[in-house]
């Protein structure tokens, strides 16, 4: 089993985000990982029967731990002004945070998702307890700051933890803006995103040429192109990796639903295909956080349950791939 996991720190009320920390050297990061893994292994018997500790991974540029399962909002939170659906999404957010989740990801491209997240955070007074990750998505470079501010107001947070250039749209103008905002303490981390394997060469180039904190890519047992270059590069460069589309917007799970869960899934505490796929993803040592999107409370609980317990080793990951590819 892969043991690069941490107990989540006791929750503290966050009234103001700490300033960005300096980049942590790779050797020190490795030592932290090993130390935390050892501490986790030592504590594990003691916590049997207690609520499961949430696995976290450190953000390489700061060492700040982030739970390995987050919450996406593409499609699922775009419910407009429907009060029933907005309350359902608010319940999802409340359950996500209650289960130890922190990172919520959205974009101005996602329709009403930002408003709905703001509604959910406001309803349960959770704005200070989440890791707010959003994106800038506008062609005009001069309008980037204004769009980020509009997004922040919709989220109803004091500031974003992370702002990413969505699909690399006009990264030439937006990245300098984001680095300036980070230097001014207006955001904490800077990232770039892509999905479904697009523009990986550009992503690589930017990872090499800019001091990025985060990169967001698609990764799951079927979409593994990032394993070849981007994930190793992220480790080398100390860049955190967010994984989108872990279930291919549900298509992967619908295909797998026809097959029984393998008996060995219980070895890594998986009770569903969703958990096995999520554990496959976050077991990769370069991955910081996977962000499955859901508007269903049962599903968010199921997803968060994958952020605890043992992770599959290389052999089980290979078996997962073989099973999923055969579905």
């Amino acid at each position: 089993m892969v043991g690069t996991c941490f107990r989540v720190r006791p929750r503290r009320k966050i009234t103001g985000m700490p300033p960005p920390r300096p980049v942590v050297p790779a050797r020190r990061r490795a030592l932290r990982v090993l130390a935390a893994a050892g501490a986790y292994a030592a504590l594990r018997p003691a916590i049997a029967g207690e609520p499961r500790a949430v696995l976290t991974r450190p953000i390489p540029s700061s060492g700040e731990p982030v739970p390995v399962v987050g919450l996406g909002s593409w499609i699922t939170f775009n419910v407009g002004s429907d009060p029933v659906a907005r309350n359902a999404c608010a319940d999802v957010i409340r359950n996500f945070v209650a289960a130890g989740g922190r990172m919520i990801d959205s974009s101005p491209m996602y329709g009403s998702s930002q408003d709905v997240i703001g509604y959910g955070l406001g309803k349960a007074a959770l704005a200070g307890r989440v890791f707010a990750a959003d994106k800038v998505w506008i062609s005009s470079g001069s309008e980037g700051r204004e769009q980020i501010e509009q997004s922040r107001r919709k989220w109803q947070v004091n500031r974003f933890d992370l702002v990413q250039v969505h699909n690399l749209l006009n990264w030439q103008d937006h990245l300098p803006t984001l680095f300036a905002m980070k230097a001014a303490g207006q955001i904490r981390y800077v990232g770039i995103t892509t999905s479904e394997g697009r523009r990986h060469r550009d992503i690589e180039q930017l990872m090499r040429s800019h001091p990025l904190d985060f990169v967001q890519v698609t990764y799951n047992p079927l979409d593994r192109e990032v394993e070849a270059r981007i994930l190793p590069l992220a480790r080398d460069r100390g860049i955190a990796v967010i994984v989108n589309r872990p279930f291919r917007e549900g298509l992967l799970l619908r295909a797998l639903a026809r097959r029984p869960l393998p008996s060995w899934a219980s070895d890594v505490d998986c009770k569903s295909w969703a958990q096995l796929v999520l554990k496959f993803i976050v077991a990769h040592p370069a991955v910081t956080c996977a962000i499955p999107a859901t508007g269903n409370v049962a599903h968010v609980r199921e997803n968060m349950a994958a952020a605890s317990g043992p992770l599959p080793d290389a052999k089980l990951r290979e078996r997962t791939i073989a099973l999923v590819e055969g579905a």
């Binding site: 593409w74 775009n78 419910v79 407009g80 429907d82 659906a85 491209m109 009403s112 479904e196 394997g197």
Partner: protein
Amino acid sequence: MSEWWTYTLSDFLMFAPRTYYRMIELYNVAIWPAQLVAAAVGVAVAVLLAGRRGGRDRIICGLLAGCWLWIAWSFHYQRYAQINWAASWFAAAFALEALLLAGVGVIAGRIALRPAGSVRCTVAVVLVVMTVFCYPLLAALTGRSWTTSETFGVTPDPTAIATIAALALAGGRIRLLLLIVPVLWCAVAAATLWAMDSRTDAVVVAGVAVLALWPAIRGTPATGRLVAR
């Protein structure tokens, strides 16, 4: 859009089907009983198409213009734009179509529809009647709640189909100008429904739109009274 060839229809769908139909359900509740008024407008269009009343073409264009303007504001701009940022552009396109119908058809009077009695006119009348009375049944027939029914005059798909059916009876190139938005909308709607896995609805919208367009595809009527004035 980089690497455009890697995109599929579903990549452009930014809302869940249940969200879309829930929006229609809430819209239907909010505007009730406007659906009845709209249905009466649809019947009026069909009756006018089937008759020889003076000024019929202007009245039909005026009624359709009102429907397109209502949908631009009440459906696209106020509601659909909440879950689809492209709907702001749809609203602008629908408002433009309303202006064209009002300007070209009502004020300038340059739309001359084929008179009643011809086969093509009968087909158009039947299509308009079916759009008014049968299209709302599609929701129930495809397993959705009847509260998600889409009605002529207040929702875009049946309105676009009925408009195509009526305008396809017009002569002259001016009709092509007025057909652009309804035809494009039917293409967008069918693609959206297909991506939503509402395959039956998609086929109905595309199929009936092509059927409605048939008289226009067959070319400008030969008689002088049928061409644009």
